[in-house]
Symmetry: C2
Subunit: 130 residues, 2 copies
DNA sequence: TTTATTATTGACTATTAAGTCAAAAAACAT
DNA sequence: ATGTTTTTTGACTTAATAGTCAATAATAAA
């Protein structure tokens, strides 16, 4: 009972994922997330608690529902660069992801994704998912 | 002529590099750099112009004088994650670095460094260089 | 010693950030 | 309808940030 959520959580998480992928965790501001989702700050905080909560929800959504997408790998890399060393919850999530991957080529996969994401060799990074 | 610099630029760049490696570019505040170097904000800005100028100087110092160190690879990865897609100068520096590397195993090297740096598998990330 | 030049100092400004909350709105139960 | 619960709203607070600058200090040339 009570008022219903005005948004579809999965859709909102996908929109937030795109922002996190483009700007990283620290580089993403709440204003960017507000603009991308169309929701207001209060709604985002009511739903996810904190900016970190938003990232974790987006990361889980991707790992669970878009397992082998580039977006998932990018989010994992962002987590590794910015959060794994200081946040045990994120570390555990990434560690679980890591163990579901074929160990033979995981390092190569990460390196390739990093290079891809940076846009170092290709053209301009338009921030869109593939 | 005029007053001499009170610091050795190379030493200062090494200290700044350690901070950037530990916290990333966005995650590094001027206060952290001030504490790590022992210099004051004004001196850092007089010497390097901007926070980005500090990072670029640290990146160049590492690429030129510590070519094959883990620190250099970490700084390159930070640059790839946070700056390459939006800053042509950084992109060019990283691209040059990239072309000096053996192409056969560069992706694997990047993936391994990323994993290493994250501390996902090993113990706790104490932020020290190796 | 005087003058020109460059570096240091650190308080200050302006901007941006994450997070809060009281009030209003929407939905359901009785 | 009335009351209860949950969500939305968006202005507000608090804290942190990058960057500035006038005053001072140190150096060397004239």
């Amino acid at each position: 009972m009570g008022r219903r959520k005005s948004f579809n959580e999965s859709e909102v998480l996908n929109k937030m994922s795109m922002v996190f992928i483009q700007y990283g965790f620290e580089g993403t501001s709440l204003d960017l997330l507000v603009n991308a989702t169309g929701l207001l700050r209060g709604s985002l905080y009511a739903a996810f608690g904190s900016k970190l909560g938003m990232f974790i929800a987006a990361l889980k959504e991707n790992i669970n529902h878009r397992k082998d997408s580039f977006g998932t790998t990018y989010l994992v890399i962002i987590a590794m660069m910015e959060l794994v060393s200081t946040n045990v919850e994120v570390k555990q999530i990434v560690l679980n992801w890591y163990h579901t991957k074929p160990q033979a080529d995981i390092e190569l996969t990460l390196g390739r994704a990093l290079l891809n994401k940076s846009g170092l060799l290709g053209g301009i990074d338009d921030g869109k998912q593939s």
